[in-house]
Subunit: 136 residues, 2 copies
């Protein structure tokens, strides 16, 4: 039966869409991407479900880039790079986050630590090239 497929059609679509992309989209990015399959999807639904997924721990927020929240369906610990030129967010899977510091952090602060986020900022390759061209 197709009920099992249909059940929460849009909710599932939002999560799938986020899981299939590596661009760490904003709510509006997702809304735009989803419109191909779901022309009538509302931006409010995207926001509502993203915030639900976040509460459920299904997805993770990277915080805001240029004032706009960005999301990631990959909840495993990994390192990010944010381009200050274009706002692009990249994964750096080659690097391992310093989880060894976690215990140390708990020890010195007394805080119970539940998460760790390592983010590099700088200029991505394509922005470097663009800057180069502009100087010409």
């Amino acid at each position: 039966m197709e009920q099992t497929v249909k059940q929460f059609r849009k909710r599932n679509a939002i999560l799938s869409c986020l899981r299939c992309t590596h661009v760490h989209p904003s709510a509006e990015d997702l809304h735009r991407m989803l419109q191909a399959e779901h022309p009538d999807i509302s931006l409010a639904t995207v926001y509502r479900n993203l915030s639900l997924f976040k509460r459920q721990g299904l997805i993770r927020s990277l915080g805001a880039v240029d004032g706009i929240e960005r999301f990631d369906a990959d909840t495993s610990p990994h390192v990010h790079f944010i381009c200050t030129g274009c706002g692009r967010v990249l994964d750096l899977p080659q690097l391992t986050p310093p989880q060894s510091l976690e215990a140390e952090a708990e020890g010195c602060s007394g805080c119970r630590i539940t998460g760790c986020q390592l983010t590099f900022t700088g200029v991505c390759l394509s922005c470097q090239q663009q800057n180069q061209e502009e100087l010409t």
Copy 2:
């Protein structure tokens, strides 16, 4: 002469205020703190100067905590902890950020890296205690 002191009275006050606190305040926090000395200071002035300082590299933004941008006058590399309960931001000066990863990150991504931010999240001591009491 007192001109040198007065020169940009409020601008200086904003920067001094941020430099003298360790709470990583928001624009509105700063505005509130500054009102003792400058009852007529406008929130717009705080925002304007914070964004100027940021451009000048005099201060640093930690990104948004619960949707509100937080600032830090300490631009040296150091580790932060953000409490998911109360939004408090603490420095963890005992830990050293993994700057060794920076070169590695440049190597594997081709990006020019200019900054690095390591942030732990969790529950601070005072929120842990409060949770404890609520269970009683």
